[in-house]
């Protein structure tokens, strides 16, 4: 919305003022007077220019009714300023914690928009940055759901700036908005590395770990009774179809493989590249149903597998050296 560049102290003062008026909220934001902003839209300015033109025409033709019309439209504009403001005032927006996603994917934000007024609210828009907005209509004292899909560009804590709830109803001459700043622990996992690189690195990783794990072979040993907790992937469905019950295929001489995904074993690439690679290793290992552990400088996650384990590993990767990462970003941005 603002593209003005202000001198440093002024800017800081403004930012302070702004943060004081728009404190981030953990769950819900009520749009009261101090959180609302309103400015004319481009059409508001166009309308003003038209009125100026009309005013001069009225003077020139000394046409009283043209004066009446001009003043009527000026008043209409002012009244609509108030109505636009009123349409947004008292709206309550709450956010459910979004599911974590990988960097580069869209993170879906699910908002609940509600109000306690006895009026219908039309065209309440939710918008992220310059993306197309979604609109909701609120019945009297009603509530409704709105979803925004936010693109993600960086791993780590996701604090999207620039989500606004806005309205231009009823005349489109004014744009009233409030900032939606939520203080929720939203994590963006590192972007998984591309497949080709992954395969190569996977092999390298395994090679370094041959003492503790072997690659699953094809030497089929036989069938035994299925035990609860064993993977369904190893069930012999052929035997089950023949009515022999649940039997697990066993492979001779091969233990269940397990591996360490170790930061120190990676030598090439930047911090982000390494984390990407590790994230894809986590996914691949989880996919292969092997036990895996994660070693990062300062953090170790013991070998395990399953959904909770996967997310624990990915979270660790997401927040790893976030401050370094921020510094890196700052350097990049100059």
């Amino acid at each position: 919305m603002f593209s003005v560049s202000l001198p440093g102290p002024v800017r800081r003062h403004f930012d302070n003022w702004f943060d004081n008026h728009n404190p981030p909220s953990p769950d819900a934001i009520l749009l009261h007077n101090r959180r609302l902003y309103i400015l004319p839209t481009r059409f508001g300015y166009l309308f003003a220019i038209m009125l100026l033109f009309l005013f001069f025409a009225a003077i020139n033709y000394q046409n009283s009714m043209a004066f009446v019309l001009t003043f009527m439209l000026i008043s209409l504009g002012i009244i609509s300023l108030w109505h636009t403001h009123k349409n947004l005032l008292g709206i309550n927006v709450s956010l459910q914690i979004p599911r974590p996603v990988f960097c580069g994917e869209y993170c879906e934000f699910k908002f609940e928009v509600s109000h306690a007024n006895n009026s219908t609210r039309y065209a309440i828009g939710l918008q992220y940055a310059d993306q197309a907005p979604v609109y909701v209509k609120l019945e009297p004292e009603g509530n409704t759901e709105a979803r925004l899909k936010l693109p993600t560009a960086h791993r780590g804590q996701f604090k999207p700036m620039g989500i606004t709830v806005f309205t231009r109803y009823p005349t489109g001459l004014f744009h009233a908005w409030g900032w939606l700043k939520f203080d929720l622990p939203i994590l963006i996992y590192p972007r998984p590395a591309e497949k080709a690189r992954l395969q190569q690195n996977l092999v390298e990783q395994y090679d370094g770990q041959t003492s503790t794990s072997t690659i699953e072979g094809d030497d089929f040993a036989g069938l035994r009774e299925h035990r609860v907790g064993e993977s369904l992937r190893h069930i012999s469905w052929k035997a089950y179809a023949q009515g022999k019950g649940l039997l697990t295929k066993t492979f001779q001489g091969h233990a269940r493989p397990s591996l360490w995904i170790d930061w120190n074993s990676l030598t090439e690439g930047s911090l982000e590249d390494k984390l990407s690679l590790m994230a894809s290793l986590v996914l691949a290992a989880e996919n292969e149903e092997q036990k895996y552990g994660l070693r990062l400088p300062g953090t170790t996650i013991e070998q395990d597998y399953g959904n909770a384990h996967k997310h624990a590993c990915l979270q660790a990767l997401a927040i790893f050296r976030q401050s370094d990462f921020n510094q890196e970003l700052e350097l990049e941005n100059g």
Binding site: L30, N33, T41, M50, Y61, F71, S75, R147, Y169
Partner: protein
């Protein structure tokens, strides 16, 4: 949902929904509809076709008009307007061009941006109506149109295809009604600048009735069928007698055998007028007549700004009167003027074609032989009209080439122009300089508003003859035929079946209602249409608020606007104030403030627990109390509601005991 992930340039780029497009089509039709009589037929046709096309396209019945068709259409539209008016500026051509271009814009309008621009154009079109008429009726119609346009604007911004028409119109009407008080403030107080700022072509409105610059039989009787108001007059004192109300208009001194014309006359530079009575003072509110005539009582002795008086004592405006005009005027009803008329002009007022109307000419000549004094000749002719079988009628029989002969010696039925024309010709034939004066006679008194209404139906023609030592003398031959026409008015003079519908003829109740309506129109003209810089200053000084000049007005305006919006803002702020913080938050804030004085600042990243841990880790004397306070705070905030008051009390005592 997929399209919602694409970045967009602006919110106005979104594709508008169906009902918005229908609404804009209807809105344009409403705004342009009343103009159809002012526009060439082909322009109206373009409006209908393009709106029809857009609606069908909206329904999915037909496709979009391709660009390679549209662009030539726009081009030819412009050419067409130019061919029609030989210009593209000015009121009429400008309106036609605006209409054509707006119509074509509909073909390619599908985004919010386009629709909003179309709606703004509709708002603008309302103003163009006022260039044609500023009557109460037009104003009312435009007010309704304003509601429709605003409803359209709401529809576009509603972003909901479902529309509750009644609710929509109610809301729109409410917006418009809410704007009225502010509009009135602006209308009264925004300083008026005398215009025009740039040259404007003074174009004529269509179908104006009024006096013309020539007179032939049948012309005024046509005018008389119109009940339109010609002008209204507010007298400062008493209204003079009906028989004295001769409103002087175009003077015709040239005669070609069938028609009377205005003679080319110089501007009067010396006005030798002998008067015996004080002047009558009054204000005329003249309806546009599309000509230069300023009407005034015979004989006007004051000039209107932007007007002049010709040598035949006619008030002429330098511009055509295409807008309502209000002027104050003075007249002397008893006067003597023109004794020193130039011989050249007297010669002109004696001329007539010798070959036409031979019987009339010989009658005139014989009268000149019979009488010595010119007064006697005049009396003889008036006696002839009075005593012989002459009739006053609105429907005289048709006349041929020698119309005066046929009238005087054949049909003997005529209207004022027949009597005035034949009388003037008889005078000329008898050697008396004579001319025809057209204008209005009488008027209708509106006792509701205490002013005089003069209608087109009061149009009249009479004569002036020039007599030695007396100058130009008004002679009204119609008065000889039908004295009641002059003394009571037209309706009394006509037979029942010819009577014109006037207010006086109706029953008293209805009549009073109509007088009130006319009074409303008069006040409308007086207060709204004529509210200019002079009127504004007069009005504001009459209020005695000390608003004398334009800087006072601006000050009053700013003061009024600021106080109204300030009051409004306070009310809204109070009604929609943010929720009051809970008692425990206020208490806890006090603790944090105390701690901050001791140098413990809570960081934004810390929650209360982390902050407390940090504080306690230092050598803090009352760490247990502090821990209790935080515990209480968290319990009140997140715990069960029923214990709150007890916990608050203990929190208060703890804070008191906290010696910081």
């Amino acid at each position: 949902m997929a399209s919602h992930n694409l970045p967009i340039r602006s919110i106005a780029d979104e594709i508008a929904n169906r009902s918005s497009i229908f609404a804009v089509c209807f809105c344009f039709l409403c705004s342009i509809g009343p103009h159809f009589r002012n526009l060439p037929l082909w322009v109206s046709a373009i409006v209908i076709v393009s709106l029809g096309w857009r609606c069908l396209q909206n329904l999915g019945k037909i496709g979009e008009l391709p660009k390679w068709v549209l662009i030539p259409l726009v081009f030819f539209g412009g050419i067409g307007v130019f061919a029609e008016y030989w210009t593209v500026v000015g009121r009429d051509a400008g309106l036609a061009l605006l209409t054509v271009m707006t119509s074509f814009k509909f073909f390619e309008s599908k985004r919010h941006r386009d629709l909003l621009i179309l709606v703004f154009l509709c708002y603008f079109l309302i103003a163009t109506h006022f260039l044609f008429s500023q009557s109460i009726f037009t104003a009312g119609l435009m007010f309704a149109t304003l509601v429709v346009i605003t409803a359209t604007l709401i529809t576009i911004n509603q972003r909901d295809d479902k529309i509750d028409l009644r609710q929509l119109l109610t809301f729109s009407a409410r917006l418009v009604a809410l704007s009225v008080p502010l509009m009135i403030i602006l209308f009264v107080l925004v300083p008026r600048v005398p215009g025009p700022l740039w040259g404007i072509s003074n174009e004529q409105r269509g179908g104006v009735t009024g006096l013309s610059d020539h007179m032939s039989p049948g012309q005024i009787s046509n005018l008389i069928r119109s009940n339109e108001v010609a002008f209204r007059v507010d007298f400062e004192d008493k209204v003079p007698a009906q028989s004295m109300l001769y409103w002087r208009g175009p003077v015709m001194a040239q005669y070609n055998g069938s028609r009377w014309y205005r003679a080319r006359r110089q501007v009067l530079n010396r006005f030798n007028l002998t008067v015996t009575e004080p002047a009558v003072k009054y204000t005329v509110t003249l309806e546009p007549n599309g000509e230069h005539w300023l009407l005034a009582l015979d004989m006007p002795t004051k000039l209107v700004p932007g007007s002049l008086m010709t040598e035949d004592f006619q008030l002429v405006s330098t511009k055509k009167i295409n807008d309502l005009l209000r002027y104050s005027m003075e007249s002397h009803l008893a006067y003597q003027v023109g004794e020193n008329e130039s011989l050249e002009y007297l010669g002109l007022t004696l001329e007539y074609p010798a070959t036409r109307n031979p019987e009339t000419i010989s009658l005139g000549k014989s009268l000149a032989e019979r009488f010595d004094r010119n007064e006697d000749i005049i009396d003889a002719v008036l006696t002839m009209f009075r005593e012989q079988e002459y009739f006053y009628t609105l429907r005289p029989p048709a006349l041929g080439d020698d119309s005066v002969d046929e009238f005087l010696f054949g049909t003997r039925r005529g209207f004022c122009e027949h009597y005035a024309g034949s009388f003037a010709l008889l005078m000329r034939a008898a050697g008396i300089p004579a001319r025809v004066v057209t204008g209005y006679q009488g008027g209708e008194y509106n006792n509701v508003g205490n002013y005089l209404i003069v209608r087109q139906s009061d149009a009249h023609a009479w004569t002036e003859v020039w007599l030695e030592n007396r100058g130009w003398v008004r002679i009204d031959p119609t008065a000889a035929v039908s004295p009641s026409r002059i003394e009571q008015g037209l309706d009394d003079a006509l037979s029942d079946d010819e009577s014109i519908f006037r207010i006086q003829n109706r029953n008293p109740l209805f009549g009073n209602l109509l007088y009130s309506w006319d009074n409303l129109q008069h006040s409308w003209n007086d207060w709204i249409i004529n509210y200019d810089d002079r009127k504004q200053r007069n009005f504001l000084s009459k209020l005695e608020l000390g608003i004398e000049n334009w800087s006072d007005m601006v000050f009053a305006l700013v003061f009024l606007l600021l106080s109204v919006t300030g009051l409004f803002w306070l009310i809204v702020r109070y009604r929609e104030r943010p929720p009051k913080p809970e008692a425990y938050e206020i208490l806890f804030k006090r603790v944090l403030k105390k701690l901050s004085k001791r140098g413990f600042q809570k960081r934004p990243s810390e929650d209360t627990r982390a902050f407390l841990e940090r504080v306690s880790s230092r050598d803090f004397p009352q760490r247990d109390q502090l821990a209790d306070i935080v515990e209480l705070y968290n319990r009140i905030k997140y715990g069960r509601q029923d214990d709150t008051s007890r916990r608050l009390n203990s929190m208060r005592t703890l804070i008191k005991s906290l010696e910081l």
